[in-house]
Assembly symmetry: C2
Homo-oligomer: 371 residues x 2
């Protein structure tokens, strides 16, 4: 366990502005060159003006972002907007130069700080303020988050943390969720390893529901609900996928997806901002191990949706919250997608065809090398 105790390596960063006004942040182990310039792809950038409408029966906001309908889908293989710009006549979203992780404001955001004057209707409407960012995991056009070296995965987690911190200062943002959509099965438009990060102007329905239940538990028990789940998963043991001193991964007893895995710090850290260096290291390591296992399972990239759930940044205290990553692999068997259909979409009632214990045992049995 000695290796876990090493000091975290430094992370340098630099904030740039693109020709079209969007912000770009570069992060690296080495200082970012001061003369680096932020590029932007050419073409019309329609000023985004998304709006929210209240769904009165579900009690949730729906976002309308009309301009997104025309966004690029599977661009020609010779153009990767997330690769460093090498030909100035064909600019991408990120510059050449020495950096390891980049973040920029999405060109086709569903939430935007400048949103204004929503249309009027009998349901409440609001400007869809907030922030949509793209997190470029690496300069390499191919690969995977889990396949990056451990220091690099750790840097991605630290970038999520930095962006959470920065967005928490904004009045129009109440919740920050880093996430990744991976694979054509979940509709990704670019193969370049990347994730996203949304700063929502409201606490979205699923975290809101989880937090409400956590708060009730905390007020009753004086301790966190997820802390109890971690303890119970350790005790029962049959669904543990990987453990480090300060982090753990398991297929929860109540998994909705066949290979659903949760990755979380053992201590009840409400958000990324609460992780100390050792916890962040173990958290990143556990995430890497899980992602490697998912890809090793059938020796092919596992399509998934990955969402980071943490405390809201609404100014309140959230001792009830417990940072955790929920990974939803889209396949229930090799080559067999789990479809969301009538029961899931129409009733909200999930059906699993598999047992969490069996799937956890499968993943636990896969050996991976962490470097």
């Amino acid at each position: 366990m000695i290796a876990h105790a090493r000091a975290t390596s430094p992370m340098y960063s630099r904030r740039l502005t693109k020709p079209d006004g969007r912000k770009l942040w570069l992060y690296g182990r080495a200082p970012i060159a001061p003369d680096i310039v932020a590029p932007a792809p050419e073409g019309m950038t329609v000023p985004p003006n998304p709006h929210l409408r209240w769904h009165p029966l579900r009690g949730e906001w729906v976002t309308y972002a009309g301009h997104r309908q025309d966004r690029t889908f599977l661009p020609p293989p010779d153009y990767d907007p997330l690769a460093p710009t090498t030909d100035p006549s064909s600019p991408t979203e990120v510059p050449a130069g020495e950096w390891d992780v980049a973040v920029f404001e999405n060109r086709f955001p569903t939430l935007h700080a400048a949103a204004h004057t929503p249309p009027a209707s009998y349901v409440a409407t609001l400007p869809a303020t907030g922030q949509c960012e793209v997190v470029v995991y690496t300069q390499a056009a191919q690969g995977a988050l889990g396949a990056l070296p451990l220091w690099h995965v750790e840097m991605v987690v630290r970038v999520w943390t930095e962006r959470t911190r920065a967005l928490s200062a904004r009045n129009d943002i109440e919740y920050v969720m880093p996430f990744e959509n991976r694979g054509v099965e979940v509709g990704v438009t670019l193969p370049h390893p990347h994730g996203q990060l949304y700063g929502y102007p409201f606490v979205p329905p699923i975290p809101a529901r989880e937090l409400l239940i956590q708060r009730r538990h905390y007020e009753r028990a004086g301790r966190g609900l997820v802390e109890a789940i971690v303890r119970d998963e350790h005790r029962e043991g049959s669904r543990i996928v990987h453990t480090e001193r300060h982090a753990v991964a398991f297929v929860p007893a109540f998994a909705r997806w066949a290979y659903e895995v949760w990755v979380l710090p053992v201590r009840a850290c409400p958000s990324l901002l609460d992780l100390d260096d050792l916890e962040l290291h173990d958290f990143a390591r556990t995430l890497k191990v899980v992602l490697m296992k998912l890809d090793a399972l059938w020796d092919q990239p596992m399509p998934y949706v990955m969402a980071v759930h943490q405390a809201p940044v609404d100014g309140g205290k959230h001792p009830e919250a417990h940072l955790h990553i929920e990974i939803y692999p889209a396949l229930r068997m090799k080559k067999r997608l789990k479809y969301l259909a009538g029961s899931e979409l129409g009733a909200g009632a999930f059906t699993a065809d598999t047992s969490p214990e069996e799937k956890a045992a499968e993943l636990r049995g896969i050996e991976v090398r962490v470097e």
Copy 2:
């Protein structure tokens, strides 16, 4: 409007038992022959024993039905288990003979009355009691619900009503939801026009949420929330897709899917059981018109999930409920699927790329002939 006032044609039915013990119900305009015999496909039928586990963070039940993993997927084109049995050596799920609509207990149910002894864990577990039924819309192996003659669509609605009535008498069932998954895009395993019907042992999360909000509104306003929505949609007008005297279809102001359409009676009928003959007729007609418009939009079958939301059958009074069908077409443009990814699945926050007013105008502009 004279045609709408005609008396509803009679519907005959007969209940049969399959060789493997499952029930089969046949419905028709003509009396069902008394000597008709219920077939069942051959092969092992594992006694189903699904169970529920409580998801403590979302506060909902998840169903585990292990045997389903191996269920038939896209059987060879020469075998249609929903077509009438013509060769006794290759039995299907329904007999030859004169009938129009058939319902049978699903061979691979996720909910089953005989479920028992769930495994123990730190989360609550229960037997996954309830009922899963397949609703065969027609004897024809090809076609669509919307393409059936109006009397036939009306019969399907009446069959939903009859099954809701029958299942409401069971103690292990609290909610009945007829639904249809249509198209390979939403994972249908059989092209034969059919839907399903689940009798849940609990009120599932989405109807539960809708009903809670409706109840609060009803207690405050003394009238239904959906009744108010219907009035407001009529008043604003821009999202109406079709109207009859007693039923209406619109893309709601808060649609989450591009071509989402709701079909509902104008009067606040809590469930299918509350429709009178004229209302049922107009409701079926409106449903047929909407389904025809969706298929005519791009001159191809529109993949969709369709869910019928109604009052629970939990023994309580539900004046707050208002029967409505929610149709979620899977395409947001021709050949472009709407993917549910990080924001939708991880946060519960839906993003629409299109405007409900534009999509409603598109559908409204499509002329269809109802016969």
